[in-house]
Symmetry: C2
Subunit: 339 residues, 2 copies
């Protein structure tokens, strides 16, 4: 409930700042470039609307962390942290544009991906434009939190480098054999955990908190837990509840945590996997086989371990007041948990 | 001669800093990502060497501008400006990686482009990594020129946004009809002039010069003159002298300044152009036709006009000492002129 109250005020402010950040392309008379960005952000074109915009979890995480980590009044902290919140969401969206090209993905949030609509050249370039807009956004901390501006810009840029490391491993894994669960963590550290770690670190940085590294750990562990949970749902998820196609990860050949666990067992699952692409018809039996080999329980225990480590890191950070409660609530919501 | 003396000391320092800037990927154990970067920078792989590295004109421009714009001693200014010089060269190289994918280019500096060797997904991602490394490099100004660090980071990032604007127009032009010479300038302002403007502006910024906008104008006009000159050589250049294939621009269908001028005339050149791709055999006659319609003289006069405006801007900046002389020399060298 606490989260809902914060979100009701924060989300419109985030949306408005995001629109301002990309409005510069419109002012420059580059209507189509602006339109491509607005399409990707979920504001324009067919299917525009809240589903196409995503949940804006990352900017919420920045703002709530800043509030929970600061002794100052809410209004001040808000004003200070918005450039960082917006920057993180723009980086997230930039990475989606490029990932969709790299992964040959046709759909994003239920709509055709940018490259399928405007071609690969314009999509690469539009991603690059969004990348610059993201980093220009965070430099506006100079006005709202000058002492944190340079460190925040560096943190975000190091995060982007980390994202490319995760993506580099992920692209390489698609053709590599002999992978184990040990190969999983460096990849998701970059692809998922790095940006969530940046969210909480940037919030703490703007707040001038001494607990910056605890907040960073919280975000990083939350990201790892989230990815493992997402992998679990990708094979055994309830299609109705998650909105994801439950069989897609096996059919897509995604080397997710349960799959890597299964490959390590060198049992019937691994034998089938190595024979080549899996058809949708095979999925129910193969998912059951993977579960029988222990992959589901292993993944659940990893999610539990990481979730509890994340919440422990949050506790160590000693978040303050109702914003601290909302932060905990957001973490559990991200992991599809009730408490 | 003055330029040669500076270059002999500066180029090794630039190369060493560039290597350090990308070494972080090697330290992270990402050998192949590091190798891809080192390949693109011209340090490793088949054909590595000075030709594959390019001329490093941009970082030289940063360092010479800083020297010419500062009253401080050489050693201090060097130390201060190197992060900016390196950052600009990394941005240039990042943009080449993505441009080569977008333009479907097979060769770069005489070697196979990154995407042809490692595929489009890894090449997009490696470009993104280089983008981050470039911006991390400029943030190191915090150590050498702290007062300029934030403004420099913003200038470089705005420049990157400008690059994407130029590229957006360029990609769009390839399928647009009815273009005129007026459409040329906004495109090359982004694609070529923006980064050269950033070089001279960043040099002046690090030097704390009051003539920052004059230096910026110098770089920008130099960039426009350079591009028009490059377009001239792309049709009527001496293959031996330039190392470029003289007929390539017409065969490639590049909408360069002389071509846009020719299209505006609606004469025999435009009629042939609109019929479709031009074969190498047609080039001598068509180039002569384009020249007869006035495109060559028009382009030469534009190069002359812009060169003289660039040199005037440099004079207004009042560059100091031998570095000022070297800066003028570098400008003329870039334009393939003797004086």
């Amino acid at each position: 409930m606490t989260l809902q109250i914060f979100a009701a005020t924060m989300l419109p402010a985030i949306e408005s700042e995001l629109r301002q950040a990309i409005a510069v392309t419109e002012r420059l008379g580059l209507e189509e470039l602006h339109y491509m960005l607005a399409y990707h952000m979920g504001w324009q074109g067919e299917g525009a609307g809240s589903r196409a915009q995503g949940k804006r979890i990352r900017p919420l995480l920045v703002l709530l962390t800043a509030l929970a980590a600061s002794p100052r009044s809410e209004v001040e902290v808000w004003q200070a942290a918005l450039p960082a919140a917006v920057a993180v969401e723009l980086v997230h969206n930039f990475s989606l544009i490029h990932d969709d090209i790299e992964d040959n993905s046709l759909l994003r949030r239920g709509r055709p991906t940018l490259w399928t609509q405007w071609g690969v050249p314009q999509a690469i370039n539009t991603g690059d434009a969004l990348f610059s807009l993201a980093h220009l956004a965070i430099l506006r901390l100079e006005e709202t939190a000058p002492a944190a501006a340079l460190a925040a810009a560096r943190t975000l840029q190091e995060t982007c480098l980390h994202l490319t490391q995760g993506q580099y491993l992920d692209i390489g894994y698609s053709t590599r054999t002999g992978l184990t669960t040990a190969d999983y963590w460096p990849m998701v550290s970059g692809k998922t955990a790095a940006l969530l770690a940046a969210c909480t670190e940037l919030g703490a940085l703007v707040a001038g908190s001494a607990a910056r590294s605890h907040y960073r750990d919280f975000g990083r562990l939350l990201g790892l837990a989230f990815q493992a949970q997402d992998d679990l749902l990708g094979i055994w998820g309830d299609v109705e509840a998650t909105g994801k196609s439950a069989d897609s990860d096996l059919v897509e050949g995604k080397k997710s945590l349960p799959v890597l666990f299964g490959l390590e067992q060198s049992g019937p699952f691994a034998a089938r996997w190595q024979k080549g692409p899996i058809t949708p018809e095979e999925v129910p039996d193969l998912a059951a086989q993977l579960e029988a080999e222990g992959a589901r329980n292993f993944t659940i225990s990893e999610v539990d371990r990481l979730t509890s480590q994340a919440l422990q890191a949050l506790e160590s950070a000693q978040p303050q007041g109702v914003a601290g409660e909302a932060l905990r609530e957001l973490a559990l919501k991200l992991l599809n948990r009730q408490k």
